[in-house]
């Protein structure tokens, strides 16, 4: 049984996530097999692109139920970018302006679009500042640069679920944590040494569970 499964939802270019995770946590594989995902010690759920499109895909291919089952359990779960946003209840990112798209609702809250005079998408390296000590950020600076590329951000209803913030306009939630469920808006797999450190921290969180 591999320790970590990177979930292939069919809508993300996950080769770079695999390459980076494997560099620090060799016991990792990519799979869309529901049984393998259920048997993993921990899962990483990457995603890019449209919330609605991916929400539709995971409903159609049956991954939604598997993910919900995992999220109800205690297994370490790391959502990346869209994979973090999908942890929320709903998103403004919809083809139909009046009907928000439903997420996995593991963490209550909404996914919103950047407004105002900001350049959108928010692209590039920006500082991530954890609001408290959390094992995901062990060994990193108080404010560490990570690579972002997104137009939407997650806004949890409960402030306790906010792990880190990043300044853009005011500031937005760049990392979430609710027990073993974690999400990051940035791309650790594209964030050089800092990103590799975050993945190895996730490995440590998994090791501490068993």
């Amino acid at each position: 049984m591999p320790r970590i499964v990177i979930i292939n939802s069919g809508n993300a270019n996950i080769s770079s996530v695999y390459k980076a995770v494997k560099a620090v946590l060799p016991d990792t594989e990519v799979s869309d097999n529901r049984q393998k995902i259920k048997n993993a010690r921990a899962v990483i759920f990457p995603g890019v692109g449209s919330f609605q499109h991916t929400a539709d895909i995971i409903t159609k291919n049956g991954l939604r139920d598997t993910l919900l089952e995992l999220l109800n359990g205690k297994k370490p779960f790391l959502g990346i970018c869209l994979g973090m946003q999908l942890l929320m209840s709903e998103s403004e990112e919809s083809a139909h302006a009046d009907s928000p798209v439903e997420g996995l609702a593991a963490i209550p809250g909404k996914v919103k679009i950047f407004t105002g005079s900001l350049t959108v998408p928010h692209v590039g390296w920006n500082t991530v500042k954890p609001l408290y000590d959390h094992p995901l950020f062990t060994g990193l600076e108080k404010e560490t640069y990570f690579y972002f590329t997104h137009s939407y951000f997650a806004q949890p209803d409960n402030n306790e679920h906010i792990l880190a913030k990043t300044p853009y306009g005011h500031s937005f939630v760049s990392a979430l944590a609710c027990e073993n469920q974690m999400g990051v808006q940035f791309h650790p797999e594209k964030s050089g040494k800092a990103g590799l450190r975050l993945f190895s921290n996730f490995g440590k969180i998994i090791a501490d569970q068993y």
Binding site: G49, G124, T149, K190, K193
Partner: protein
């Protein structure tokens, strides 16, 4: 703070990195994978690879080279050069690229921007625009720039502002703007051009063409309002290391990602 990005650009021809002046007089400057590794270690924020070769075998060799380069990189990689279909984009992305740069194919078939953004997300689509000044600008005729395709060989008659806005509406996530007049000259970026394009669109604009001194990069990021600077000659000549550029920009008060944050 969102950092200003320093992006080395590798122009690749027949699996070698080359660099010209004003799009001609190409000279060999190195091996693509070696140079990618070098710039990543130096603290580059991203890497752009543009394949300008025209061989029959291009698609296959390009996929192979991109796979080799992406194997050594943990920073974003943008790839362009003759990519003219969604299936070609998918191949390059699965070889490890993060973004696709569209140029001539986007002008010939703007629907490609829309299709690419719908399939891979807007963050994945960079539209590269090569332009040349049409006039020097006067009271009666304001300065304007014309869009060129096919590596600068074909004038399209299209105005840069109009095309930049259209690409944004179609779903481009970033614009990579090259001044052909300035390219390789080391005389500085075309700041008028940058100001006009950055104020016409909401998406990030990457300045390209003309960097020769540290002050040029600073001017593009401040006076020109560019979000990032692409640099080729200034880096390939080994006149400046990325750390020198970042130290200079930082000393002038611009936010940059520290080099020691990396390797």
């Amino acid at each position: 703070m969102l950092a200003k990005r320093i992006i080395p650009c590798l122009d690749m021809k027949d699996n070698r990195v080359v660099k010209g002046t004003r799009f001609v007089d190409l000279r060999d400057v190195g091996d693509p994978t070696e140079m990618a590794t070098f710039y990543d270690r130096q603290g580059a924020d991203e890497l752009v690879v543009l394949d300008i070769s025209a061989s029959q075998e291009k698609r296959r060799t390009m996929v192979e080279t991109i796979r080799n380069i992406s194997d050594v990189l943990f920073i974003p990689l943008t790839v362009g050069g003759g990519i003219d279909s969604v299936s070609f984009m998918a191949e390059i992305l699965s070889a490890g690229a993060d973004k696709i740069s569209l140029n001539t194919a986007a002008v010939n078939n703007p629907q490609l921007i829309k299709d690419g953004a719908a399939r891979f997300g807007r963050q994945c689509i960079v539209v590269a625009i090569d332009v040349r000044r049409k006039n020097r600008g006067s009271d009666s005729e304001p300065v304007s720039w014309e869009v060129y395709t096919y590596g600068g060989r074909t004038a399209t008659g299209r105005d840069v502002i109009e095309w930049a806005r259209e690409t944004e509406q179609l779903g481009a996530g970033e614009i990579l703007l090259t001044s052909m007049d300035a390219d390789g000259t080391l005389d500085g970026y075309d700041l008028d051009l940058l100001r006009q394009v950055t104020s016409a669109v909401k998406i990030p604009v990457i300045a390209s063409g003309g960097a020769g001194k540290l002050e040029h990069l600073y001017a593009a990021l401040t006076e020109g309002n560019a979000h990032a600077v692409l640099a080729a000659s200034i880096l390939h000549n080994s006149e400046y290391a990325i750390a020198d550029i970042k130290a200079f920009l930082s000393s002038k008060g611009l936010p940059v990602r520290p080099v020691d944050n990396h390797n």
